[in-house]
Amino acid sequence: MTRVPWMLLAALAVVGCGRRAVDRSIEAQLADADVVPGLIDVQLRGIEAERRALVAALGEVVDAVELRDQSLLGLLQRDVAERFVLRVPPERAASVLAELRKRSDLLYAEPVVRLQALWTPNDPGFAKQWHLRAAGAPGAWEGARGAGVVVAVIDTGVTALDDLDAGRVLKGKNFLDGSKGAADDHGHGTHVAGTIAQSTGNGVGVAGMAPRAKILPLKVLSADGFGNSSAIADAIRYAADHGAKVLNLSLGGGGRSAAMADAVEYARRRGAVVVCAAGNGGGRGVSFPAAYPGALAVSAVGPKGALAPYSSYGPEVRIAAPGGDKSLGEESGVLQETISDDPKKGAYKWFQGTSMATPHVAGAAALVASLGVTSPAAIESLLARTAKSAPEASAEKYGAGLLDAGAAVRRAAIWQGLARLALALLGAFVAVKHARRMQQIRANEALPGAFWGGLVVASGALVLLAPVGLARIPGLSMLATAPAGLGAHFFGLPHAGAAGTAAALIGWSALPPFLLAAFTRASLFRKPGGLGVLPSLAAGIAFGWAGMLLAAAIFGSVYLPWIPAFFVPVWLLIGAAISWAAGRGLLAREAAR
């Protein structure tokens, strides 16, 4: 967990070099401790069907699902469609490799190496959690762990036991009797909370999707698992008003309730993603609240990715996630910690249901939100766009497809990072060019490193490191997700209380770079001729900030409290313009030298 990205990059580089090292003997390669016996990674030129036939003649072609299950897919993330992984008897690996390498149409043939690139938590039960791997959690953990995001679990309550860090379980509320606190007297809510945020990498028990997220437990279901619409509606509103970015509703019923429908709309307007279980009817017909507009309805699949026999489906289903299918065996359920007969004592149990699928999606939403994508529409669209294709084409059963949290995190990071950087650089380029034309900067005068450093960091372009281990260093991820990340770390969530609201509104405005620019200019008056690092840094920060605000405006990726949704892009554009002007103003000061 403490390994740093540069070590990771070095490791990847070594592997990459190894791939091209044709002079290294096959035997030496196969003797490597990290080689997976009998698996060969092959890429050939030519037509796909021909290539496949050729490779299949040498051994068994292994499909991507199996590789994913073995956590080997990290190796093949980039261009899996172009490559084959071949299984041969381990003792034949050397001869097959030698034969392949004689081919003129070979791009490469290498033993599959178990990369330690993906963070593998040391929780002993993680190996059995096929569902977290199927949901793409290991890939996602490289870039995000859900820090600073609050997920409301509206359920039977949540009890923090051995494997759920009590520090991340907020003080909840019991909506059945109005009391404070929301201890679990059933086990369902604790299991669901475990899927979202089980302590991970702590060497105990099992793992969860968003291990640094916080849980807001709201009890609306009794000890026997039943509740009423008014308590649930109240809890949804309460969650939205108390800083929850994601609401998990692993519950439902057949009755429409105007109060609950309104509450779902309200929560979404307040910037929360409302993730709901499609229902366990086993047929067509999604239960409420999942079927309300504004809810993100989740159907359940088993380990093979096929719809679980109990899962409800219908046109409202937006995405499918692992909910278990115990008709394939006990261990085909979802494994998390929950309460045992003694409610103070934990037990690890295999559950199945659309309730178990829902928190995988809620956890993924928290991961994406922790990277600074905070508008519910943007989060939902990211999860849908990055979903894997389902085993059959049925939008009613699978919605957009099977959840892939890793792909969602990578997409969020790469698009945000590139857009922020490109727009920041564009703004800086225009400003510098203008300043040169106005002879405020000399034509041959290079801008110092501080300028570029300030620009990259302030733009939040460091988020581009997400696919290669950004989340391994909390401080770095904080900078990369700034200002959303800074706000979340220091003040809680965007709309959690006055401090959080202020942090979000100030963070997503031009105020910080403007104040910095003003301070820098003032200090220049005191020290004439003292130009150099400080004003350059301040100007870089201002252009970076402008790029970040502009990217957020273009992508519609940000939720801002108190500001009507239609005005958010205007707010961001105004902020970007002022930030840019602040940076440009500092370049003008350079002429005063």
Binding site: D155, T156, H186, G187, H188, H191, L221, D224, G225, F226, G227, N228, S229, I232, S250, L251, G252, G253, G254, G255, A277, G279, N280, G281, G282, S287, F288, Y310, S312, K326, T338, K349, F351, Q352, G353, T354, S355, M356
Partner: protein
């Protein structure tokens, strides 16, 4: 209040739910079922009312149990 006749079933869903499968094939999730009713395979007649409630079972209508007798 009506009478519902059928077989009690324990389903491995959501950590375990109790249902009544009626002779006509309808399925009801049992609400407020006493421990004595929770016997898989028991043929019973339940006095109760069907409710459109909410819960974690999400598997058909709910039957609030007032009383029952073995058949």
């Amino acid at each position: 209040m009506s009478a519902y006749r059928g077989k009690v079933e324990h389903r491995d869903l959501e950590g375990g739910i109790w249902q009544l499968v009626t002779d006509g094939g309808d399925r009801y999730t049992l609400m407020g079922a006493p421990a004595e009713l929770k016997r898989p395979g028991a043929c019973v007649e339940i006095d109760g009312s069907v409710e459109e409630g909410f819960g974690l079972a999400m598997s058909g209508p709910m039957l609030r149990v007032r009383g029952f007798k073995d058949l």
